[in-house]
């Protein structure tokens, strides 16, 4: 049996977004993803990052417009920080093993795929924008306990404790279903408040509902 990993030419693929920067991906989105760039379209890391950028834009646009209307400084540095985190998180990172059932099987998930899954799940919670997520522990060891940390921004008017609980439970559920990780804990840290959206239909999880 061969060990192809020992022959891997890592130098041909630096540990980044397959040769792209987050700014290049944002420009690609701005251009309507045309002309098609196979080096982006066929890169899972770039696809993970693009999906996160799209969600960030959809979710933060209203907040920034509201901030501008109230003459508050639109916090572009915050957005920049989130984009930087997306760039780091979307990279493939460590190989997270899947439990094999056959001797012919060796399955792994990339750490980047799992971080993107966490980000997608938490971003879907009403009123939440994920700033950063990390996996702490020996994720490359099957069965090792892992601690997940999700740092989020929450929109004004959203019930923070209930929302944090919802983020924690949905992330734990999706990791249980979609990975073989042994999750010790999911820590949710609310780092920022985003301005309230002008359209109340966008934020169903308000204080009144909770």
């Amino acid at each position: 049996m061969t060990e192809p990993d020992s022959a891997r030419l890592d130098a041909l693929e630096p540990d980044d977004l397959d040769g792209h920067t987050i700014d290049e991906l944002a420009d690609y989105l701005d251009a309507g993803m045309t002309p098609a760039d196979p080096s982006i379209d066929e890169s899972p890391a770039c696809q993970n990052a693009l999906a996160a950028i799209v969600r960030l834009r959809q979710s933060s646009l209203g907040a920034l417009e509201a901030a501008a209307a109230a003459e508050a400084p639109a916090d572009e540095s915050w957005i920049g920080g989130v984009l930087a985190n997306i760039s780091l998180e979307a990279r493939a990172g460590r190989d997270v093993p899947l439990r094999p059932l056959e001797p012919t099987e060796r399955g792994v998930m990339t750490e980047g795929a799992i971080r993107s899954l966490i980000r997608t799940t938490a971003d879907a919670v009403p009123g939440v924008v994920v700033a950063r997520c990390t996996l702490d522990g020996d994720v490359d060891q099957l069965g090792a306990p892992v601690r997940v940390s999700v740092e989020v921004a929450v929109r004004e008017g959203v019930a923070i404790p209930a929302t944090a609980t919802l983020v924690r439970s949905t992330v734990a559920d999706v990791l249980d279903e979609q990975t073989d990780l042994v999750v010790d804990a999911v820590d949710v840290v609310v780092r920022d408040l985003l301005p309230r959206r002008t359209d109340p239909l966008d934020d169903p999880a308000t204080e009144e509902d909770a």
């Binding site: 061969t2 890391a45 099987e105």
Partner: protein, 101 residues
């Protein structure tokens, strides 16, 4: 069938597995780099399923509807069965899930 043609059949079989949404090119190894260079030289498509001696390597994206471990296992079985059915000697299938949903 040539090995390249068998790998193309394996690729089709993997893409037909429920839950597999995408097949990406694996990271290059010495063997796969040589194979890619050969494909480019002959004008053929660059394979998304790579055979390194007797190990098949796949990188998949899943649709998120089925659990990723289950999908990876099914992709492994589809690749192994298809390769062996066409006479390819395979001892192991490495499946890397690089994207979910």
């Amino acid at each position: 069938m040539t090995p390249d043609e068998i790998l193309a059949v394996v690729e089709t079989a993997v893409l037909a597995v429920p839950g597999v949404a995408e097949l990406y090119r694996p990271r290059p190894t010495i063997g796969s780099t040589v194979a890619s260079a050969r494909s480019l030289a002959t004008g053929g498509p660059v394979a998304r399923v790579v055979l390194d001696e007797d190990v098949l390597r796949l990188v998949i994206g899943t649709d998120g509807a089925r659990p990723a471990p289950e999908t990876a296992r099914a992709a492994h079985l589809a690749a192994l069965d298809t390769a062996r059915a066409h006479g390819l000697s395979v001892s192991r299938v490495d499946v890397r899930v690089a994207r979910v949903g």
